[in-house]
Each structure stands twice: as structure tokens, then as C-alpha cells.
């Protein structure tokens, strides 16, 4: 500062210096701050302020000392002197502020916090080179570098910003700009994913948007495998934690941070709302937490972007809309590029699983080869009939065993494949039936209006009545799924009260059973029938599987049917019998109906579901058995009560007294 600048800019109350001279002479930068708060801040921090300032041209430095305690109540302001003295130059140019006799005590944590805040206000130097040309403030160059040095016992310690160090570990850097002609380009670079897409044209000309630049550091958490060794699990977890407080897309206008963009709760690009629910679909999570992003706006005269009066963001004008549009499109572009590579990695991982399969076959082949070599050697060299016979016998047993292993292995593979299909379908059904529930009350309301509107028309009344009936049936299915899904949201295992679960099942399934003229009956033999801790939705699976099998078995009799559920208790287990009046199970199939893909040559057999039904995967009862096995339970066909043709029993160990107490039951 020159003497005049020091006097006019700093020492004069209500100075209009910055209004008249908004651009600094030395760096051609927009000057920050117009309200004169800086003086108060200096006053607040310490009792004494010393300013030493010199310009390139000056031969000496100016020194101003202000002792705030001189400003006492009832003192005439004109009596207080703050004289400027000249002293030898300390450095070629620049100003030093020394605040002495601090009012507060300052620990390392406080200093670190101040540093973090101060450096977040300024545009980070890791952003772009363009800023340099436009003279906007940035702590990239020496002209505006923030450095905090803590001196303790005269040993200086530099306090650094740990944030900056993590960015080189990003999975990908997405960077782009709109130039002075309005052309928007975007680049996606990722070393670990081997992506280098440069200057993809997002839009030829933006009408309003000019001179912006952005750089987003992108992370996928918990998937260190994507980083190709560039990061380890712990480091990635550290970044994930850091993301909770400091991830997001920040905006810097002329070098200074604009709030609230990029604050933890701010979602100005609608990333969270748009992408949160897609995580399972593409495996490219695109929430705010995944980005450490910086948008730089260079707009020295403020013709594009203006901050709102309350300093709570930018006025959402045409330029702002353009900006959101540009960033959104750039992100979409980046997402496609990333998805392609990530998908490849996942595919490779799956291939590895297949390689394991291959190696199973290889190993078996290897085993066969060796065994055959050894046995033929023995047969050739040893003529003893006893040995010959034993070897022949061994050979026979060995090859039977191998054949059995092979077939078991291949059916396991088939089962695994089908289970994958089923679980995928389950997810989709879950999503679908959740969406549907939103419309139910509205549809009901429309039906009600329709009924009122057509109250004088017999035909409309009939149509409405039929619509209501059909809709009720339809709802019976969706409500079943909603129940199961709401149970799924609860992951905790707990002792299951058989009565409660059966009651709920019957209430949901009743409308469907009524339509098919199937009667339901429940018999309880005993109270407080608690299983060991299980998942409620597992019982939904068991009961619904039984029900759909019974339904089919009853349908094949061409008569209205009955279903009965009996629940009870033995010494150490609780049981549930599921009975129906369907076509029954042939004794020879009783033990096999729980096998995967069990089907008989006779298509009119219980449990047959392979051939004609869409839902028929041949896995229904197998899944039930898997659940029961998990809990050391038993499942088997029993002799039905009179009037019934089929009865299947599930036994599950009963909850112990300790377990019940543990769960407060």
C-alpha cells in the first residue's frame, strides 16, 4: 500500500475506497470485502495491531501501530493519535499485519480450524490454470498463499491441509470448462480404470454461460479393487469418513467460496435425489459424497453471476441454469465412461468364478488321468487275480464316484444360476410393488368418485362394482408383497411367534383364496409357539411356497379345496403342518419333492412347476428346505388328517427360555 492507500483504505471510517477502486492496482484482482469489517476483526483478535507495508516502487516501508485500548469510553476520538512512521523496507513489496497481545488463547486445533476455514474460502490451487490468467484470487500463486506456521519453543511447524493430499488418489478426475465463446467441453481421466477421454464437446454454444471451469475428484467407496492398487482399504475408508463433512460440489466465484454449494446437506446438482436409488443398477454411485468437486466462476464484473443479498447462494438466472445444465450433462457423460470400465471389472471378477468352475473340471480330469495311469500300471505289472479283481472293483467305484460328483456339481451350478435369476426378480418385484402402493389410495378415491358420479346409471354401477372387485383382488397380491418387503427392511433375527405369523399370512392371502373358493382353517395346539431367532420374511417364503403349491394341487382336482394350517409344540421344537385337499403326493416322490428342479414325468404331480408356469423354477420347496436346514430344522411329508390329501410338516427348534428373555418376550 502507498501512504494514501493506507490512509484512505484502512484508517478512514466508512471508507468508500473499494467502491471507487474495486480492482487492485498491483494484481488487477477484484478486491474482497466492502463493509469494513476487517478492522473490527483485528480489534477482536488482539489488543495491538501493527501494519507494515511497502510497495515495489517505494524506498521505505510504512509502519502504523494501533493500540485499541486507547479507544476508551468518553475519550474524544480526535485526541487519539495513530501516526504513520517510516522504517527501512523489510521485503520488496507487501503488507504485514501483526496482531499482538491476543485476547484468546490459541491451541493447535483452533489454528487448524481457522486454516481449514480460510483455505476453503479461497479457491484451491489444485483447480485450474485458467484462474491465473484472469488474475482471480487463488492460493496457488505466491501472491495469495495461505500458510499457517505454529511456533512453539521457537520451532516452526507448518500446518497443512490434509484434504489436498487425498485428491491424487481419486478414482477419476472429471474436468471441464466453458470458454469465452460459450463452448462447453469435458474430460474424464482415470489412471486406474484406464480412461482418457479428452475434451468431449458437451455443447457448442451456451447462450449465457462463459468462463467457468470445474474439476471433480470422484471416489467409489468400499471398492478398492477399482483403484488398481492406487489406494488401500484403510486409506479409502479414511476418505469416506472425510467425505461426510467435506465432500460435495463447491463453487468459487472470482476466487472466493460461495455458500451453501457443496455443504454437507446441499444437493444443488440434485445428485443425491437423482442417483441414490440407482446404486444397485449401474454400480456407479453418484451422490455428493462421491465427489470432491470445485466449480470456478470467473466473472470479475459480475455480469453473469450475482450472489443473493443474503449471501445464501447465487441468483438462479439464465447463466446459473446453463451452469447446472453443463455440469449435469458432463456428469452424465462421465458416468457412462466410468460405467463401461467398472462393468468390465465386475465382469472379469465373474469370469474368475467361472475359471474356478473350469478348474474343478480340470482337477477332476487330472485326477482321472492319474488314477487311470496308476491302475493300468498295476494291472499290467501285477498278474495276481486277487489284485486284478480289487483294482477292477476300485476302478468301478472310482468312476461311479467321479460321475456322481460331476453331476452334483453341474446341478449345483444350475441351481446357483437359477437362484441368481430369482433374487434379481425378487428385487424388481420389491421395487415394483413399493411403487404401486403409492397409487392405491388414489385409485380407490377415483373409484369412489366414479361410483358417485354414476349413481343414476345401472350400467356404470355394475362396471364400478366389477372394477372394485378386481381391484381388491389385485391389492391382495400387492399387500402380500408389501408385508414381505416391510419385513425385509428389518434385518434382525428374532424369535418368531408361529400364531402371529400364520395369522398375518392368512389375512393377506384370504382375498386370493376366496376368489379360488379355497377355505382356510387354523388349528393351534399350544400357545407361545416361539421358534429360535429367525427372520420373519423366511416364514413368509415358507408359507407362500406351501400355499402356491397347494393352490396348484387343488386346481388340478377341479374342485373347491381346503387348506389347513396346524401349529404346535413338541419337547424341544415347534412345528407347522400345511395340509390341503389337492391331488396329493405319490409315496415314491415324498422324499424328492424338496430337491432342486424336482419334476416327475407325470405333469399332474404335486410340486411340479417346471413346465408351464412362469414362476415355476422347480426351486420353491428347495428354498423352503434350505431355510429349514439353516436352523437345524426338519421338513418332511406326513400322513394327512382325514379329509386332507397332503400334509407337510416343518419343525424348527423352539426358542429357549434364555432366548425369550433376551428378546424381552
Amino acid at each position: 500500500m502507498t501512504a494514501a492507500q493506507l490512509e484512505n483504505g484502512f484508517m478512514r471510517l466508512s471508507s468508500t475506497d473499494k467502491v471507487h477502486n474495486p480492482i487492485s492496482t498491483r494484481y488487477q484482482r477484484a478486491r474482497a470485502g466492502r463493509k469494513g469489517i476487517g478492522r473490527f476483526a483485528a480489534h477482536r483478535l488482539g489488543w495491538q495491531l501493527i501494519i507494515i507495508t511497502q510497495t515495489l516502487e517505494s524506498e521505505e516501508a510504512l509502519r502504523l501501530e494501533i493500540n485499541w485500548e486507547d479507544y476508551k469510553i468518553d475519550t474524544n476520538l480526535l485526541d487519539i493519535e495513530n501516526s504513520i512512521t517510516t522504517i527501512p523496507k523489510r521485503k520488496p513489496e507487501g503488507t504485514t499485519l501483526i496482531i499482538n497481545r491476543l485476547r484468546d488463547s490459541w491451541g493447535e486445533t483452533q489454528i487448524r480450524n481457522v486454516y481449514r476455514h480460510a483455505s476453503s474460502i479461497l479457491q484451491p490451487d489444485y483447480l485450474s490454470d485458467r484462474a491465473k490468467d484472469s488474475h482471480s484470487t487463488a492460493n496457488r500463486d505466491n501472491t495469495f498463499k495461505i500458510q499457517f506456521i505454529l511456533k512453539e519453543n521457537d520451532i516452526p511447524v507448518v500446518i497443512a491441509d490434509e484434504n489436498t493430499m487425498v485428491f491424487n488418489r481419486a478414482l477419476s478426475v472429471i474436468e471441464g470448462s466453458v470458454d469465452e465463446k460459450g463452448e462447453g467441453k469435458c474430460s474424464v481421466i482415470s489412471k486406474s480404470l484406464n480412461i482418457k477421454e479428452l475434451d468431449y464437446k458437451i455443447q457448442n454454444t451456451y447462450l449465457f454461460l462463459r468462463n467457468i471451469h470445474f474439476k471433480f475428484h470422484y471416489f467409489i467407496y468400499d471398492r478398492e479393487v477399482y483403484y488398481n492398487g492406487n489406494i488401500n482399504k484403510t486409506q479409502l475408508r479414511g476418505i469416506k469418513e472425510m467425505a461426510n463433512s467435506s465432500a460435495g460440489i463447491r463453487v468459487y466465484r472470482n476466487g472466493f467460496r460461495v455458500l451453501p454449494y457443496g455443504e454437507p446437506s446441499n444437493d444443488w446438482l440434485k445428485l443425491n435425489s437423482k442417483y441414490t436409488f440407482q446404486s444397485g443398477v449401474t454400480n456407479i454411485p453418484f451422490g455428493n459424497r462421491n465427489f470432491f468437486g470445485f466449480v470456478e466462476i470467473i466473472d470479475t464484473i459480475g455480469e453473469q453471476f450475482e450472489e443473493t443479498a443474503s449471501r445464501e447462494g447465487l441468483i438462479e438466472n439464465n447463466s446459473f441454469d446453463d451452469l447446472v445444465n453443463f455440469l449435469t450433462k458432463s456428469l452424465q457423460y462421465a458416468r457412462i465412461k466410468l460405467a463401461e470400465k467398472v462393468f468390465k471389472i465386475r465382469e472379469d471378477a465373474e469370469k474368475q468364478v467361472q475359471d474356478v468352475n473350469k478348474s474343478f473340471n480340470d482337477q477332476i480330469a487330472y485326477l482321472e488321468e492319474n488314477v487311470s495311469k496308476i491302475t493300468s500300471e498295476i494291472l499290467e505289472t501285477n498278474a495276481d487275480p486277487a489284485v486284478q479283481e480289487r483294482v477292477q472293483k476300485f476302478n468301478h467305484n472310482f468312476y461311479t464316484l467321479v460321475a456322481d460328483l460331476k453331476s452334483r456339481y453341474s446341478s449345483l451350478l444350475e441351481e446357483q444360476g437359477m437362484l441368481r435369476v430369482l433374487s434379481g426378480m425378487g428385487l424388481q418385484i420389491g421395487e415394483f410393488s413399493h411403487e404401486i402402493t403409492h397409487y392405491l389410495p388414489a385409485i380407490n378415491g377415483d373409484l369412489f368418485q366414479l361410483k358417485l358420479l354414476g349413481k343414476d346409471n345401472e350400467q356404470i354401477q355394475q362396471a364400478v362394482a366389477s372394477l372394485v372387485l378386481n381391484f381388491t383382488q389385485f391389492k391382495s397380491y400387492t399387500s402380500y408383497f408389501s408385508t414381505t418387503i416391510s419385513q425385509n427392511s428389518q434385518r434382525e433375527l428374532k424369535p418368531i411367534l408361529l400364531g402371529e405369523i400364520v395369522g398375518e399370512f392368512i389375512r393377506t392371502i384370504k382375498p386370493n383364496a376366496n376368489r379360488l373358493f379355497i377355505e382356510f382353517e387354523v388349528e393351534t395346539r399350544g400357545t407361545d409357539l416361539y421358534t429360535i431367532p429367525m427372520h420373519p420374511s423366511e416364514w413368509s417364503s415358507i408359507l407362500f411356497n406351501f400355499y402356491s403349491n397347494s393352490k396348484k394341487a387343488i386346481k388340478k382336482t377341479n374342485e373347491p379345496g381346503k387348506i389347513k394350517v396346524v401349529i404346535g409344540k413338541d419337547d424341544t421344537s415347534v412345528y407347522l403342518d400345511f395340509l390341503d385337499t389337492g391331488i396329493g403326493i405319490k409315496p415314491e416322490y415324498e422324499s424328492r419333492i424338496f430337491d432342486a428342479f424336482f419334476s416327475t414325468s407325470d405333469p399332474s404331480e404335486y410340486g411340479d412347476e417346471v413346465n408351464n408356469e412362469f414362476t415355476g423354477t422347480g426351486l420353491g420347496l428347495k428354498i423352503v428346505k434350505d431355510i429349514v436346514d439353516t436352523y437345524d430344522g426338519e421338513i418332511y411329508v406326513t400322513t394327512p388328517q382325514t379329509d386332507y390329501t397332503t400334509s407337510i410338516r416343518v419343525e424348527i427348534p423352539a426358542a429357549t427360555q434364555n432366548q425369550l428373555e433376551e428378546y424381552g418376550l
Binding site: 435425489s273 402402493t437 403409492h438 397409487y439 392405491l440 389410495p441 388414489a442 385409485i443 380407490n444 378415491g445 377415483d446 373409484l447 369412489f448 368418485q449 361410483k451 358417485l452 358420479l453 372394485v468 381388491t472 399387500s479 408389501s482 416391510s486 411367534l497 400364531g499 402371529e500 400364520v502 395369522g503 398375518e504 392368512i506 387354523v522 393351534t524 395346539r525 399350544g526 400357545t527 407361545d528
Partner: protein, 369 residues
């Protein structure tokens, strides 16, 4: 003139609009649907401004799920709005009038996001899933009745006017004490008390099923004959505050009816359902009434209440009292489940636990099985 409700819901588009149109369909009430303002202060200051135009509020429980048309997503719930309105009413500087507040929500959200303190704020709950074609007219009538009831409470000068009785002599004096006390507090406290502690609980007032149980009648099997008998009870029908929304009959009416019209040597409590029905048929000449039958594991036919889970009529000596953590007022009847439900537990969600005092009886019943 139709009562006006303001309906705030974040389920944008057709869903909420359709619900509000349907609630408007009969003309009994008129519902204005608006999305949440998104900003708490705006919401409340707007409500302060518009509440004089309305006689009721209908609030979605979760207002924070979907952004409004100006893309603002609110961070507050229907419960916090209701709480604020109830607080504003008490502020003498603000002239916000007391009005019914009704909650509309899905079952899952009600279970997961509403606690008992929240429940006290609302006069009535609508579960979205239960808004079926048959339920709409009932809900509409109840909303209208709530508004009418609030006005009646505000303008009534005596308890007689409020309860719709000429004489209060036969009412439990403790009930009258609480009513007098609440009248001095606020409209919604009195409204909530009458609705939740008198109308919705058996005691001085009975609902149709309990009334039928006390007369020994099987409603479904009796069909038209029951409707005919019910006409005889018109003079005992409750016609006080909220009567339009909830059909209730005075218990005293049952006794009076029995004494004056049936003139039998024993009170109905002392005779089995079959005799009650026979007497009614004979004395009134109504044919086709069918007596209710004993439910499984029951020993008495002197039905006096119903099972809260399965709705079957039972004698209190067969039923099991359920635990009621909120406690009973002295004028209220206990709530029971039938023995079959106590054993099977098929509807345990509705009753949760039986009262500890009934454990010995339940063990005895189990031992018999």
C-alpha cells in the same frame, strides 16, 4: 355450508390431488390440497394467515419425502406442523383458532414414525391403505363431524348441550369432573378427551357390536331384523358432539329398554343370549332375530362384550382382560380377548399382551388343552 379442510401432502401430482377430489366428491366437506411450502417459517406463517378460512387441517405424516413443485424439499413432518398449530392456539398475541387436525399416512409410516406424544396431537388418523371405496364416505362424514364438533364445543354453554342429554344424573361424576376441567383448557383437549375416552371406548356409550352382544344378537345372521330392532333404540342414540361421525348408544338405554319394553324378571346380564332374543322377539314382535352363539372354549352365553381381536361376543367371565399401559378411567369397560385368540395369538398385533392378573386363568386354560 360444507366444512373446509386444508390438506398438506408431499405426494405430488395425481395421488394427493385424487385423494382430495375424492374427499370433495359428496359435497359434505371441501378439501384444498397444497404441497408443503418447503421452508418451515413460510409454512407456519402461511398457516397463521389462512387458518381463519378453514375448519380443519389434514396433514400427511411425512412431508419430507418428495420436493414440492418449486423443488423445495421440506425437513419437517406433519407432527411438527400440528404441534406448532396447537402451540400457536395458546398464544394470546396470535389469533389462531382451534381446529381439528387429522393425520393421513401409510401404515408403515404410522408404525415407524409416530410415537404416543405425536398421537395426542391429532383428532383422527386415516391410513392410506384403508381408504377404500367403502371407507371414503365414512371418513368424509367423520371429517365433517369433527369440524362441526369443534364449533359445538366452542359455542356450547353447558355440558348438557355438549353431550346431548337433558339430565346428567346417571353419568359417572368423575367423567363430568374431567369434562368440566377440560372445558377450561382448550377445545382440542376437550375434543380429544370426549372422542378418545368416551366415544371410542365402551362404557357409558356402546358401539353397534357391543350393543348387539348385550342384546345377545348375531348381527350378520339377523340381517334386516337387526336393523328393525335398532330402530327401537333411536331414542337412546348418542346425539352429542361428534355423533354424526360415530354411531353410539347410551348403555343406560339398554337397561331402560329392557325394563320398560321387555319387562322380564331378570336383567339381560343375568340371562343367556337365547332367552334375551326370545324375549325381544315375543315382546316386540320382530321375527328373524338370531341369537349369537358361544365361541370356542367359552362356557357362558351371557354375552356382555366382544373380543377386541376377532369381534365375537363373549361373557366377560370367559374373556381375558388385555394389558392397557395407558390405564382405564373408572367409567370405562375393560377390553377383552376371547379364549381362542388368547391361545392361537393369530391377531396378537391388536392386543399385544394380556393383563398380568389374567395369567393364572390363562395357564389353567392351556393346561386343559
Amino acid at each position: 355450508m360444507a366444512f373446509k379442510y386444508l390438506y398438506i401432502d408431499d405426494n405430488n401430482g395425481s395421488s394427493a390431488e385424487s385423494t382430495s377430489k375424492s374427499l370433495n366428491a359428496t359435497g359434505e366437506i371441501s378439501v384444498d390440497y397444497v404441497p408443503p411450502k418447503g421452508i418451515w417459517e413460510d409454512e407456519i406463517s402461511n398457516l397463521e394467515k389462512v387458518i381463519p378460512d378453514y375448519q380443519g387441517l389434514l396433514l400427511d405424516l411425512r412431508l419430507d419425502e418428495i420436493p414440492n413443485p418449486t423443488k423445495l424439499k421440506s425437513r419437517y413432518s406433519g407432527t411438527s406442523v400440528a404441534q406448532e398449530i396447537r402451540t400457536l392456539i395458546k398464544n394470546p398475541e396470535k389469533s389462531v383458532k382451534d381446529l381439528p387436525i387429522v393425520l393421513i399416512s401409510s401404515q408403515i409410516n404410522l408404525e415407524n414414525f409416530l410415537d404416543s406424544t405425536g398421537k395426542d396431537l391429532f383428532d383422527y388418523f386415516i391410513q392410506r391403505e384403508e381408504l377404500t371405496i367403502d371407507e371414503y364416505p365414512i371418513v368424509i362424514t367423520r371429517l365433517s363431524s369433527l369440524s362441526k364438533g369443534y364449533e359445538l364445543i366452542a359455542h356450547s354453554k353447558t355440558v348438557n348441550e355438549l353431550i346431548g342429554l337433558d339430565s346428567l344424573d346417571f353419568l359417572d361424576s368423575r367423567l363430568l369432573d374431567v369434562i368440566s376441567e377440560k372445558r377450561n383448557q382448550s377445545i382440542h383437549l376437550l375434543a380429544g378427551f370426549i372422542l378418545k375416552s368416551l366415544i371410542l371406548k365402551s362404557g357409558p356409550l356402546l358401539n353397534e357390536r357391543v350393543l348387539a352382544a348385550r342384546l345377545g344378537i348375531d348381527i350378520t345372521k339377523s340381517g334386516g331384523a337387526w336393523a328393525k330392532l335398532l330402530e327401537q333404540f333411536d331414542e337412546f342414540k348418542y346425539n352429542g358432539v361428534f355423533a354424526e361421525g360415530w354411531n353410539r348408544w347410551w348403555m343406560l338405554g339398554v337397561l331402560k329398554f329392557w325394563k320398560e319394553k321387555i319387562q322380564y324378571k331378570n336383567t339381560p346380564r343375568d340371562v343367556p343370549a337365547s332367552i334375551r332374543v326370545k324375549q325381544i322377539e315375543e315382546k316386540l314382535g320382530i321375527a328373524g332375530l338370531v341369537a349369537a352363539e358361544k365361541a370356542k372354549y367359552c362356557t357362558s352365553e351371557n354375552f356382555w362384550t366382544i373380543c377386541c381381536a376377532t369381534q365375537v361376543p363373549i361373557d366377560t367371565s370367559d374373556g381375558f382382560i388385555i394389558a392397557n399401559p395407558e390405564g382405564y378411567y373408572p367409567w370405562q369397560d375393560f377390553v377383552y380377548i376371547c379364549p381362542e385368540e388368547a391361545l392361537s395369538q393369530l391377531n396378537i398385533k391388536k392386543w399385544k399382551r394380556i393383563s398380568a392378573s389374567e395369567n393364572i386363568r390363562l395357564e389353567a386354560l392351556k393346561a386343559k388343552q
